[in-house]
């Protein structure tokens, strides 16, 4: 079947079998940023935009994209730069395999917010489908909150007031970690 999509702004036409997923189609057309982690719509790694809405490309048939526009991270190199910087400064990409899908979804979220500052739980809910096995999500959360202008993004390298070695910028050394004095511990209720 012939499929024509506007891929990152340029028309692409190909003859595909009916069972070809959008994920397969995109990889075959050089969009290697699109990753597959599960095939069962659980991981979010394959997130791309279909007509500007985030979709899981492993669960969309390529033929469904016919006549529509598809955006991958390859097409958002400039738009994603500031978010990338926030993530990098937190070390929030460990293996990085989940990063493209996350970036796509955060940028989609940002557009949906239209300048509104979201609550933590709202961020977690929107991004719940983006699994990451490496980072434990906290660094991503700090980075995303900073990116979206949320108050109190948490420990930031070099940020004044942050505690612990993660606050160690090149200029300011961290204060020694305070240690609680060994004092009498109240008997706990049982």
């Amino acid at each position: 079947m012939n499929v024509t999509v506007t891929l990152n702004g340029a028309p692409v036409t190909d003859d595909v079998t009916p069972d070809t997923t959008l994920y397969e189609f995109l990889r075959a057309h050089g969009c290697k940023s699109v990753k597959c982690g599960c095939e069962t719509t659980n991981c979010g790694l394959c997130t791309v935009w279909l007509d500007d809405a985030p979709v899981l490309s492993c669960a969309v048939l390529a033929v469904r994209a016919d006549g529509r526009s598809v955006t991958t991270l390859e097409g958002l190199q400039d738009q994603s730069a500031r978010l990338a910087r926030c993530l990098a400064e937190q070390g929030a990409e460990q293996c990085g395999f989940c990063s493209p899908g996350l970036v796509m979804n955060v940028l989609a979220f940002e557009r949906e917010l239209a300048g509104r500052v979201p609550a933590d739980e709202e961020i977690r809910r929107f991004l719940a489908g983006n699994l990451c096995r490496c980072t434990g999500y906290m660094s991503q959360m700090r980075a995303i909150k900073r990116y979206l202008g949320c108050p109190d993004p948490g420990a930031w390298p070099g940020a004044a007031g942050a505690s612990g070695p993660a606050a160690a910028g090149t200029a300011a050394r961290p204060a020694p970690v305070p240690v609680a004095p060994a004092k009498e511990v109240p008997t706990h209720e049982r």
Partner: protein, 816 residues
């Protein structure tokens, strides 16, 4: 030379070039008068590159989604391999009919056990001779678990390969299977009765005809006498399940034959040098005929310390002379690769009424599944990396048995047995505290191994550095331990606290090797060539930080290259938490050597003594000297050359040679990193659902080399540990088919499950480590299971001793 000499020895006997401040400071050390904590306070602030939040070298490329991983790089004309897998837990293949599969358009070949060489090998990525038995063939006539490989289809397209898979007809003689690992020993069903099976390491005491892959133990002190002194004995059995490493990138590899007829395998692996040996052994070719390349890896956590698919594509590429790639599906990664070893641990813990632990007896039964990868070695950590926490006990004993069953083979997974052993031991300690109505933190403080004490169950090593007590105090402070009761009624929920300690190692002592090459290049930058594999952990960046520290330059001036077995210096690989400790030390050594060479070279040009040559990172110079012989820092130097000019002269007329240093490191020490973790959980009174509302972890990993990456490692490890504690459980049906085949049925924590994980560090300074560093990669996964189990017990009164802690178990207890 002992590992710590490198910090007290001069950089180069003839060239007292400026060294990292830490090296000086340590030369004056007076341990144990100065504690490792105090040393860290003195030394770490002087470091310029190490102990900073340096951004990962590959960060921006990864975040831009550049094509960097194995499947991104595979040639577009690579043939695609798909694998037919056994539907039976145990069967012999009578016949395979591949004729119809071969007729599918696009199918190039179908391989069966009749086509492969007959030399057995192990897929465990371990140093030679491997502790894991040689119990594998590329394809075997006997299949030993549901998912075991039966045949390979190689085709032009994935579609063609998948069609052909369905057309292969296999005639199986189904054999009885042993699925329950507690019944495996001396079971009439023998998993490995075949010819050609080989044990390479005698110490594992293999008795395969009894399904025993390995057995052994260790003891210190008089156990019976110690138990005779005990006023309380906690006698319990704990059970940890198989868990999937579940790295986001599945197993993927491709191979081709190069211009010289050699096999080149590009793979997402943690152990390229071991993969080279595996491929050579499996294909019965010389190791010189194999080259292994590791690109970026999408996570490993130990899973990729086993060579799941490399030998398959190497074999097919060799036979076909064309590039062949395999990309495992998630289902294959779940059902046909490797997992954590399921373990059952019997603990007897003897103590005085005042909480003094006097005796510990630990007996571990481990399930290695159908093949023995990492079976003999993981089990050891269940004892050797748990018991030393309480090394003051009068006596300890550790015994272990590792059995084969017809389930998916286990392998390496972050924590590598220590995670399992610590769940058992730390749970028992929590039960002891509850039995004695003692605060579990205070009970631990009373019993902790102190700095300078011997650890009998840890190769009799001395504990040089620990801040574990401070870590625990800091964790208490962070969670508000002293202000909160252990359990609180919140209405619909009960909120409770639980605590655990953990340790790990920093390498496999006397086994792990890390080596690096370091070159000064034209223009004045450095190339650091490493064999250690960055699997997302950032070791490329961390090693560059070490080099930059010693060469007094920004990290950007150090280019890191790895890993290609033809080019990179030998490294055992990234496992056993060893990269920072071992390869980091090698990097420091190489940098020190390079400085020595630079001094020698400059001295030759200038006709001075190399001992007088200085290097401050930017320029090589000989300072002016006053009449009395003292250095005059104010005056213009007697000789001076900027680094770039110096480098350019080296590679052009001056020397005609780039300066290259090579250094290797191995270690007689494996200093344990430590951690304290405290969980605050809510248990729903109606449903039993357990939510971890807050988790604090405080780590002593020695010097924190990269403060950002260490924090993320810790946060990530904790969340994996929370998954293991609450939801992750590899399950089988009664016929040995895995039930948990995808992320639908195998629940990883998502970000809504872990609203708050908070991490801090209390660094010690480990005198045998590079600039005081130990390790962090694995220790961080160990505390959640025991801490959460204890919190749940405080909330509900039910001690869950078989993971995971499901709502039913939390609410009704394990007996229901």
């Amino acid at each position: 030379m002992s590992a710590n000499d490198k910090h007290s020895a001069p950089v180069c006997s003839r060239a007292p070039l400026t060294k990292p401040a830490a090296a000086h400071a340590y030369a004056n050390e007076a341990w144990p008068a100065t504690s490792s904590f105090e040393l860290a306070q003195q030394i770490t602030p002087e470091l310029a590159q190490v102990s900073h939040p340096v951004v990962k070298k590959d960060a921006y490329a990864l975040l831009a989604g550049k094509p960097l991983y194995t499947d991104d790089l595979a040639p577009s004309d690579a043939l695609v391999m798909k694998i037919l897998r056994s539907p039976h837990a145990h069967a012999r293949i009578r016949a395979i009919d591949t004729a119809r599969a071969l007729r599918v358009p696009g199918v190039v070949a179908v391989f069966t056990h009749e086509d492969v060489p007959h030399t057995r090998f192990t897929l465990a990525g371990q140093s030679n001779p491997e502790a894991s038995p040689y119990d594998r063939l590329i394809l075997d006539e006997v299949v030993r678990y549901v998912g075991d490989e039966v045949a390979f289809v190689v085709a032009e397209t994935k579609r063609a390969a998948e069609r052909a898979l369905r057309l292969i007809r296999v005639d199986y003689e189904v054999l009885p299977a042993v699925l329950d690992f507690t019944q495996a020993k001396d079971n009439p069903v023998v998993v490995h009765g075949e010819e050609g099976y080989e044990v390479k390491a005698g110490w594992i005491n293999n008795e395969r005809l009894r399904n025993i892959c390995a057995q052994g133990g260790s003891a210190s002190g008089d156990l019976d006498a110690a138990f005779a002194q005990a006023e309380v004995v906690i006698d319990r059995t704990y059970h940890t399940k198989a868990c999937a490493q579940a790295m986001m990138e599945t197993f993927q590899s491709y191979a081709y034959v190069d211009v010289h007829g050699r096999i080149v395998c590009v793979s997402s692996t943690q152990v390229p040098f071991h993969i080279r040996r595996q491929i050579a052994t499996a294909l019965e070719i010389a190791p010189s005929q194999v080259r292994v390349v590791k690109p970026r890896i999408g996570g490993g956590f130990g899973a990729k310390q086993t060579g799941c698919a490399e030998t398959f594509v190497a074999f097919a590429a060799q036979r076909l002379g064309r590039p062949v790639k395999v990309v495992y599906t998630r289902e294959e990664t779940m059902t046909a690769s490797n997992s954590r070893h399921e373990m059952q641990m019997h603990v007897r813990l003897g103590a005085k009424r005042d909480g003094t632990i006097v005796a510990i007896d630990l007996d571990t039964l481990s399930n290695t599944g159908a093949y023995g990868e990492h079976g003999p070695t993981t089990v050891g950590l269940s004892g050797h990396k748990s018991l030393p926490l309480y090394g003051r006990a009068l006596a300890t004993r550790f015994a272990f048995t590792v059995v084969y069953t017809n389930t998916m083979p286990a392998g390496a997974y972050r924590g590598y047995g220590a995670t399992q052993g610590l769940f058992a031991l730390e749970s028992a300690v929590n039960e002891l505290a509850d039995t004695l109505a003692m605060d579990p933190c205070e009970l631990r403080v009373r019993n902790l191994t102190r700095e300078g004490e011997l650890m009998p169950q840890y190769d009799n090593q001395v504990l040089y550095s620990t801040t574990l007590e401070r870590c625990l105090r800091r964790a208490q402070e962070m969670i508000g331990w002293n202000e909160k009761p252990l359990v609180r009624d919140m209405g619909d929920k009960v909120r409770a606290l639980g605590v655990s300690l953990a340790m790990q190692g920093s390498c496999i002592l006397n086994v792990d090797i890390g080596s690096v090459d370091l070159r000064l290049e034209e223009g004045g930058f450095y190339v650091l060539s490493i064999g250690a594999t960055d699997m997302g952990t950032g070791c490329d960046t961390i090693l560059a930080q070490f080099a930059a520290e010693a060469l007094e330059c920004p990290v950007e001036r150090v280019v890191v290259h790895g890993v290609d077995t033809d080019v990179s210096p030998y490294d055992t690989g990234s496992y056993a938490s060893s990269t920072t400790y071992i390869t980091g030390a090698a990097t420091l050594k190489a940098a020190e050597q390079l400085r020595g060479q630079m001094a020698e070279t400059a001295a030759g040009w200038w006709g001075v003594d190399a001992a007088d040559v200085r290097f401050d990172g930017e320029r090589v110079f000989v300072p002016a000297v006053r009449a009395d012989g003292t250095v005059d820092a104010e005056a213009a130097p007697a000789h001076e050359m900027a680094l770039a000019a110096f480098a350019n002269k080296c590679v052009s007329g001056g020397r005609g040679d780039a300066l290259t240093a090579h250094a290797a490191q191995w270690s007689e020490f494996s200093p344990p990193p430590f951690m304290a973790g405290i969980a605050e959980v809510d248990v729903d009174k109606a449903t039993g659902k357990v939510d971890v509302v807050d988790y604090v972890g405080v780590v002593d990993c020695g010097t924190v080399v990269n403060t950002n990456l260490a924090r993320v490692q810790a946060e990530g490890g904790i969340v994996q540990g929370i998954g293991m504690a609450l939801t992750e459980d590899v399950q089988y049906d009664e016929r040995g088919r895995m039930r948990t085949r995808s992320f639908m049925s195998y629940k990883l924590p998502c970000r809504q499950d872990v609203p708050s994980v908070r991490v801090d560090f209390v660094p010690s300074y480990e005198k045998t480590g590079p600039l005081g560093a130990k390790s962090i990669g694995e220790v961080v996964i160990n505390t959640p299971s025991p801490a959460i189990a204890s919190a749940v017990a405080h909330a509900t009164g039910h001690y869950v001793r078989t993971l995971p802690i499901t709502p039913e178990k939390a609410l009704f207890g394990e007996e229901g």
